[in-house]
């Protein structure tokens, strides 16, 4: 253990700790800006500077090693002046139009400027005006708000390993962008939005769909239907001050109804459908020498990744659409018929933890009979903004979860199964699938349906399940870097039957549309574990926990034929195709 003193407080930390870690242990809050644990530890912003007695220069606490006997000062005059000066310099190059910024009141730069009591800027220089890149359907980049903390690069390059953005030029001309200033739309960005989640300012944010949804809601002839992903209900509460990992299904549904949506459905139902379709697909491929391993296709970020970076594996992808796309198709046919509404007047909105789904819905193949499956995607964050715009009092929303209550999902789809709920976490699709496939093959109803091998934070988890026809060997993968590793394993001859892939590390609960957790909070708690616990809690709380026991599912397949049949294919399946990693022609 290393013993040192921070602002007079004695603290002991394990060898290899940084001064920042020691400070936090000593309950001394050194401000940071570019630091993000595990993502970006480069000591670049010079805000976390501290003074070590006897040192010539100030050190960046986030990377400086804690040494035995060090005397550290985090608020000496020298430190205060340097920190303030550096922040003033950053602000002098920043687009300070906070009032109209998407991160107003939720911005790490604002927070530090407020804490350091910045009153006026001593220097005004001529700022470089950057063009905003808003050509991508999912993500908008605004370099005018960028403070060059490099967190997005850390995420894209080192965590996701897609590396579509990097620093360009040098010195004062440095900026972050795609090669040749291409738009994110032209380069193979997978739209996972992890960059948005780590950006401290408003330099990265999702493409707005709020306006089109308000428009639809205001239109009297439009029947606006909304569906909600499993991951949204365990995170939405964070936007209203609730602890991370609070389940708020009731409030979410109630709020949506009060916002004016005609019907509120649960995407978990479509998740149950996915299990039926994909389970059938798996058994079919196993029995009939189909392409194995079967890859899940519910993550549009993952699908775009595969299409762009490893198109040779497209035959392994399930032909299923993602759950919300299936649901959109179902709503505009099955539901439209049952409700007696012209599908052309139905507007489907999906509330998702995901930024890639904004891209997904406008893919040409995501439509049936000329009608888009889904018309708009709201991220969890966007829904929260709409709730605030409508001045709904969050605390007065109901959360009783009674099936007759206003806070319950609407019919005809009713309540989905717990298997559908766990889609929101990495390993959930697999566990849900195993619950059904195992019983389908054994013909017996199992008592223990928690396949804990599929749970947990690891980017690659492998499992084996002994079944009558087959010893199923599978894996659960989250994050595109791990996807690459898994594909390498397959190339090297390792054999699997079924692999679940999610584009975002940790799965949908950590998606690019979820509430942003600032660097300090993210370092102090395990966001994944908290949200995952909530999702497994939802699963446990539901009466039906197997997709094939969802009463609606049984009814559905009585009416449209068997899973994987013609009608099912028409509504629920699609085809995927190779995309260019680097375009042949670039409009430079």
């Amino acid at each position: 253990m290393i013993n040192l003193t921070i602002d007079g407080k004695k603290v002991s930390v394990p060898a290899g700790s940084t001064i920042l870690e020691a400070a936090r242990k000593a309950d001394v809050n050194v401000p940071t800006l570019c630091y993000m644990k595990g993502v970006n530890e480069i000591g670049a912003c010079r805000i976390c500077l501290i003074e070590v007695k006897g040192g010539r220069v100030l050190l960046a606490a986030c990377v400086a090693p804690a040494n035995e006997g060090m005397e550290v000062y985090t608020n000496s005059p020298k430190v205060r002046e340097a920190r303030k000066s550096n922040l003033e310099l950053i602000l002098s190059e920043h687009d300070r139009s906070c009032l109209t910024c998407v991160r107003n009141l939720n911005c790490e730069l604002q927070a530090i400027a407020r804490d350091l009591n910045i009153e006026e800027l001593p220097f005004e220089g001529k700022r470089i005006e950057h063009e905003i890149d808003d050509l991508s359907p999912s993500i908008v980049r605004d370099n005018n708000k960028c403070i060059l903390c490099r967190r997005c690069i850390g995420m894209c390059k080192n965590i996701q390993e897609t590396a579509v953005i990097d620093a360009q030029n040098r010195g004062i001309l440095t900026k972050i962008g795609c090669a040749f200033d291409a738009s994110l739309d032209e380069i193979a960005c997978v739209m996972c939005g992890q960059c948005i989640n780590v950006c401290p300012t408003g330099a990265l944010y999702e493409k707005d769909h709020i306006n089109r949804v308000w428009d639809a809601l205001s239109c009297p002839d439009t029947h606006v239907v909304v569906q909600t992903a499993p991951a949204v209900r365990v995170a939405l509460g964070e936007e209203f001050g609730m602890p991370i990992g609070t389940s708020v299904t009731g409030q979410m549904v109630h709020a949506l109804k009060r916002l004016g949506f005609d019907k509120v459905f649960d995407t978990n139902t479509a998740a149950d459908i996915t299990i039926m379709e994909e389970g059938t697909e798996l058994i079919d491929r196993v029995r009939n020498n189909g392409t194995l391993p079967l890859f899940t296709s519910c993550s549009p970020g993952w699908v775009k990744y595969l299409e762009s970076y490893h198109p040779e594996f497209i035959p392994n992808l399930s032909s299923c659409k993602s759950p919300h796309q299936k649901f959109g198709a179902l709503i505009k046919s099955y539901y439209a018929e049952k409700a007696g509404i012209d599908p052309k007047n139905i507007y489907v909105v999906s509330v998702m933890p995901c930024s890639a789904k904004k891209y997904e819905i406008q893919r040409p193949e995501m439509s049936v009979d000329g009608l888009r499956d889904v018309d708009a995607v709201l991220t969890t964050r966007e829904l929260a903004r709409m709730i605030k715009t409508a001045r709904l009092n969050w605390n007065s929303l109901c959360s009783c979860n009674d099936s007759d209550c206003i806070c319950a999902f609407d019919n005809p789809f009713g309540e989905a199964s717990g298997a559908g709920a766990i889609f929101g976490v990495t390993g959930g699709v697999t566990e849900a699938a195993l619950r059904t496939v195992a019983e389908l093959l054994t013909g017996k109803r199992a008592e223990d349906i928690e396949f804990t091998d599929t749970r947990g934070k690891d980017g690659i988890k492998e499992y084996t399940v002994r079944l009558p026809e087959i010893t199923l060997k599978g894996a659960v993968v989250s994050g595109t870097a791990n996807a690459k590793k898994m594909l390498e394993k397959i190339k090297n001859g390792e054999e699997y039957h079924f692999i679940e892939f999610m584009g975002c590390p940790g799965g949908c609960i950590m998606g690019g549309g979820q509430p942003i957790v600032d660097a300090l909070a993210a370092a102090e708690c395990d966001v994944f574990a908290l949200r995952a616990k909530a999702i497994y809690g939802v699963d446990k709380s539901l009466p039906v926990r197997r997709s094939h026991e969802n009463p609606f599912i049984k009814k559905l397949y009585e009416e449209i034929g068997e899973p994987g049949g013609d009608r099912a294919h028409q509504l629920f399946h699609t085809a995927y195709a190779a995309k260019e990693k680097y375009p042949a022609e670039l409009h430079i």
């Binding site: 050190l59 000066s85 060059l148 620093a167 040098r170």
Partner: protein, 632 residues
């Protein structure tokens, strides 16, 4: 492959060739033969002289010598920098030691016929100071330029052909390596370097032996350790390292091998800036020749020691002279520094312990091994041992490369070695340390030059650039020049340097344009101090130095700019006021034509008028006037 005995045989064979050039007036006894020539014609082929066509001069000499059938008697040798660049291209003929200066291709036939064939020195070309009244030739080490120099790092420059490995070997080349490999343990080598007191010559002055010791003691996960040479030499006005690489590339190879042996490494990298094509080629040839002789590769000199090295090119980034940025560049990245610790000696290239030293630092190693630590301790000052190579430029007569013992005064360097300020102008300041350094004004001319004294004066040793400025240079403008350089070369990672230097530059720009504001000087000082303490790397931490040091010694000049909107030196164009002296004007209209904005009007034979409002102060009119009627 050469054995130790083979190398000694080469030495024995070629020794007299070297002696002829080293010992003034040495005469070879015996007839001319394959290895012994009557005369050596040494032609400087450093970049400066090559720019002045020394390669053509060499070809012409070969041609003329052959024409006169003298090819067995006369050896024409391409050699490294003699240092007196102001007088380039330089040709020195031995055994007489005649120093011909500013030689052109057209002069060559005369030199060959008159001097080499007929024995008559061509007086009109000789460096005046070496020609005594009684016609005898002064040995070079007695002329003002060379007298106080001590050429240790530059010992082979101008003495040997850098493209001939045998000549390097002949002048005790690779003896130090042999001694280390056969007689000393790695820890012995480190002890010698430590005891010598050698400090890094790249600018920081870190004790070299200590650095090697850290690397030797560091663990490597797979046993690999590296040695690297920083030949990025980005300081504008500095060409010391370039001269060593061009004039004596083998010294780097030998030193790096010694360093590798000392720390337990087997591979080396030389990071050479792309702007040095001649140095790159000469070093590559030296590496190839060393490999052919088995001095690089496996089982060097039969001792079981393996070592090889390769050149890594830079691509135009000053910041890559910073050690962690250099490492990032070698690894194939943007050359962005990273915070230290960990230091490269512990975690360097590819995460392995690495010794990274400057070219000049390496150039000192073999002699320290051969002559011993005590010998080196006997040169220089208490805390700064040995010599330092300086590239002296700017407003000085003897522009060029000099090597002096630490402790020599600035006055001696500028006036005795440098020959003083041209055109009778007054010395104003000398800049050391390039964009990281500061200026030293006249009142400190008698300061002894060493690491500590320069830092105490508000400058730093730096890599060795020494730019002399006279009364016509504006110190505010000079500060702006250096800051402009830093703004352009900043890597951009940390706000203090990326944004801070730019904000400082904007203030300086305003000041030199006559738009200075009341608190500008205080603002500059405050921002400078903040950047010095917060920047991530030494580039940023030292970027404010030129500004702070010029404010320190020339505050009145700053105040004249800010308060009076005047530039005392008359250098800042924006504040210049041009006008026409009516009495001198002959009405020739040449200035009217020269003016790009039509600010001068006037008919032929009539006195011209300059409209100050329209004048953009480009100064084009001044040289256009044959009567010097335009004043500033």
């Amino acid at each position: 492959m050469k054995t130790i005995a083979d190398l000694q045989a080469i030495r024995d064979k070629i020794k007299t060739r070297i002696l002829m050039r080293k010992e003034h007036g040495y005469k070879h006894e015996g007839p001319a033969s394959e290895t012994h020539f009557r005369s050596h014609v040494m032609v400087c082929a450093g970049t400066g002289c090559v720019a002045g066509s020394s390669e053509f001069i060499i070809s012409k000499f070969n041609e003329e010598v052959a024409k006169h059938g003298l090819q067995d008697d006369i050896m024409v040798v391409r050699t490294g920098c003699f240092g007196l660049c102001a007088l380039g291209p330089i040709v020195i003929v031995y055994p007489e030691g005649v120093f011909y200066s500013m030689v052109t291709v057209d002069d060559v036939p005369e030199i060959v016929t008159e001097h080499l064939k007929n024995g008559n020195i061509v007086k009109r070309l000789i460096y005046a100071e070496t020609l005594c009244k009684d016609e005898h030739i002064l040995p070079l080490d007695e002329v003002g330029f060379y007298k106080k120099q001590m050429r240790l790092a530059l010992r082979n420059c101008g003495l040997i052909d850098p493209e001939c490995i045998d000549e390097y070997i002949a002048n005790d080349g690779y003896v130090a390596l042999e001694k280390c490999l056969t007689e000393k343990k790695p820890s012995d080598v480190i002890d010698i370097v430590k005891a010598s007191g050698l400090r890094g010559r790249g600018g920081a002055g870190f004790p070299t032996g200590l650095k090697w010791e850290f690397a030797a003691k560091s663990q490597s996960d797979d046993g690999q350790k590296f040695v690297a040479c920083n030949a990025d030499e980005g300081d504008p006005g500095a060409f010391m390292d370039r001269s060593v690489l061009e004039g004596d590339p083998h010294v780097i190879i030998e030193s790096m091998a010694i360093a590798a042996y000392a720390i337990g490494g087997n591979h080396g990298y030389v990071y050479v800036r792309a702007e040095y094509p001649i140095a790159l080629n000469r070093l590559q040839k030296a590496i190839d020749d060393a490999r052919a002789y088995g001095l690089l590769g496996k089982n060097i000199l039969g001792t079981g020691f393996d070592f090889d090295m390769e050149i890594r090119p830079g691509a135009g980034a000053f910041v890559c002279g910073e050690e962690t940025a250099l490492i990032r560049s070698i690894e194939g990245n943007r050359g962005e520094p990273r915070p230290r610790p960990p230091f490269p000696a512990v975690k360097g290239i590819f995460g392995k312990p690495t010794v990274l030293n400057n070219v000049e630092t390496y150039a000192n190693i073999p002699q320290i091994i051969l002559n011993g630590a005590e010998w080196f301790q006997g040169i220089g000052t208490e805390k700064s041992k040995g010599t330092k190579v300086f590239a002296v430029g700017g407003k000085i007569n003897n522009v060029g490369l000099v090597e002096v013992p630490m402790g020599i005064t600035l006055r001696e360097v500028i006036y005795e070695i440098g020959g003083g300020i041209p055109k009778g102008k007054e010395f104003k300041a000398a800049q050391t340390g390039g964009p990281s350094g500061g200026c030293i004004p006249a009142q400190h001319l008698d300061a002894g030059i060493d690491f500590e004294s320069l830092t105490a004066l508000g400058s730093m040793m730096g890599s060795g650039g020494l730019i002399v400025m006279d009364e016509d240079n504006c110190m505010v403008d000079i500060a702006k020049f250096f800051l402009e350089f830093t703004v352009d070369e900043s890597c951009g990672k940390c706000p203090p340097c990326r944004i801070g230097t730019k904000r400082m530059y904007e203030i300086l720009e305003r000041i030199t344009e006559g738009k200075g504001e009341k608190d500008d000087i205080e603002k500059l000082e405050a921002l400078a101090k903040s950047i010095q303490t917060s920047a991530l790397c030494a580039l940023g931490q030292t970027a404010p130095n030129p500004v702070l040091s010029t404010i320190k010694y020339f505050r009145d000049e700053y105040e004249a700019h800010v308060c009076d909107k005047k530039c005392p030196a008359g250098a800042c164009q924006a504040m210049a006021k041009y006008g026409i002296t009516a009495e001198k004007c002959k009405g020739c209209t040449l200035c009217v034509k020269a003016c790009p904005v039509g600010a001068i009007t006037g008919e032929r034979k009539a006195v011209h008028v300059l409209d100050a409002e329209k004048c953009i102060k480009c100064g084009a009119c001044v040289p256009a006037c044959p009567f010097k009627a335009i004043y500033k």
